[in-house]
Amino acid sequence: MSLLTVSNLTKSYRCGSKTIAAVDDVSFHIDPGETLALAGPSGSGKSTIARLVLRLIEPDAGRIEFEGNDFLALSGAALRARRTRLQMVFQDPLAAFNPRATVARVLDDPLRIHGIAARAERPRRIAALLERVGLTADVAPRAIHEISGGQRQRVAIARAIATKPSLIVLDEAVSALDVSVRGQILELLLDLQRQERIAYVFISHDLGVVRAIAHRVVLLEGGQIAESGDARTVIDAPQSAIGKALVAAAPRLNRIRP
């Protein structure tokens, strides 16, 4: 049974007199422990899908089934409780945290809110989370703006795994990082997936990265699915016009690990 099933998802925005279909009748599914990439040009609706799946915005139509339940039927406390299983990592790790927060507070929040660990035990859990993402416990008291971009994205991943989710949506999570740091973060993600069987919705415009870490890929254009299938098959021999254009525009495609 699939972990997440999205059917006929539709979301449009009113822009003056005309409406823009940001997401138009999109359906896909993800299995446990799988990585599904969403790729496509800017404005193709990738972030909108991410926000819909996380219930940060509400769809106009469609269904979202998560872990066998109707995810759109949840609200209030039931929704907040279910959020433990479905997490997100944002593109800009600086914007994704309260500018006044410290690393410890950022990681303390999910543990406290969901009663995952008693107050006395939380510092130890925070240290364990930091260690799990390749940081040391001494960054805990630091302010979010006092650590590097790569460290910050590791903290974001630590926060996402704090509640033991089965699915993490990564919206351009490595795009803002420089190449060497990007490789380390991707390694960390693959390692977490292997050990905890976390599924990823991996949003990226970098087909090289998509080919390296995704099992399957969905190519979007103008809010609609242009093409989908096995990541390597699609990227090595795209059928759709947009797929061909994206592959042609990806410079380093062949130099990334085959």
Binding site: R51, L54, L56, R80, A81, R83, T84, L86, Q87, M88, F90, D92, A95, A96, F97, N98, P99, R100, D109, P110, I113, H114, R159, A162, T163
Partner: protein, 276 residues
């Protein structure tokens, strides 16, 4: 550069800080320098200033020590000004945050209430409130805050409207934080700087409003206030103008000091934020 050095570079801010420090010193030392009731009779009535050095600023119509009254009046002015401003800022930020963060119907309702309070002149509102409920220090504070909070509420709401679209607010929702916790723990503290920047103007206005209420006889009758002193002096304005002029000057200097020091602080923090 340290914030203090930066602050002290502008002469206006220094002047404001000195005036404000003098006012605070007066308020704090009032009970020490002039123990006992400042409203008690201390000498002959209507003694002009600089005649008797035990009563340097002379006495009023009833023979009360003007200097003692001035010091005790500083306490009232400062206490009411700060308390009313704090109350207005607190109410304003809470209402503005709720309206901006919740949006929809809650926003509509709260902002219409804010409009209603803002369209009535603040001083009239304070006047009506005190005349109905009766004058006491607490009531005067509430009355002034009642007419002052809509300004901070609007500023807080505007700031919250921009902050609530940031990724970190979405992040807080994703980890399952309660909406009220997001509004007050995550959003409100980051919306405060522009609201706090209004505080100098608000404190200054609150001090003036308190003086005006006291002048009209609606201050706390058990306390000396500068507004009350001016009103007292009015009866003998031709023969003993100093009775109105002395507290008047104190009021002007206080408002000026609060305003200049406040602007200096805003300037300093703005510069520091610009640098970082």
């Amino acid at each position: 550069m340290s914030p203090l050095r930066c602050f002290l570079r502008t002469p206006e801010a220094v002047a404001g800080a000195i005036l404000l420090a003098a006012l605070i010193a007066m308020a704090l030392s009032a009970a020490l320098l002039f123990p006992g009731d400042p409203q008690a009779i201390a000498g002959p009535a209507l003694l002009p200033p600089f005649q008797d050095w035990s009563l340097p600023l002379g006495t009023d119509r009833l023979g009360r020590d003007v200097l003692a009254e001035l010091f005790h009046g500083a306490r009232t002015s400062l206490a009411v000004g700060l308390a009313a401003a704090a109350a207005a800022l607190a109410i304003g930020s809470v209402v503005g945050t709720l309206a901006g963060f919740a949006g929809g119907l809650v926003d509509e309702v709260l902002m219409r209430i804010t409009d209603a309070f803002q369209t009535v002149p603040g001083f009239l509102l304070a006047l009506a409130f005190v005349s109905v409920v009766g004058p006491s220090l607490g009531i005067v504070v509430i009355a002034i805050a009642l007419g002052t909070w809509p300004g901070p509420a609007r500023v807080a709401r505007a700031e919250v409207l921009s902050i609530r679209e940031r990724d970190y607010v979405a992040g807080a929702r994703v980890i399952g934080m309660h909406p009220l916790a997001i509004a007050f723990r995550e959003v409100l503290p980051n919306a405060l700087p522009p609201v706090l920047a209004m505080s100098s103007v608000i404190v200054a206005a609150a001090i003036l409003t308190e003086a005006a209420l006291s002048f009209l006889g609606l201050g706390d009758p058990n306390r000396v206030t500068w507004g009350g002193m001016i009103a007292e002096g009015r009866a003998v304005l031709r023969t003993a103008p100093f009775l109105s002029i002395v507290p008047g000057i104190a009021l002007v200097l206080t408002v000026l000091g609060v305003y200049l020091a406040g602007e200096g602080i805003v300037e300093t923090t703005a510069v520091r934020r610009g640098l970082s």
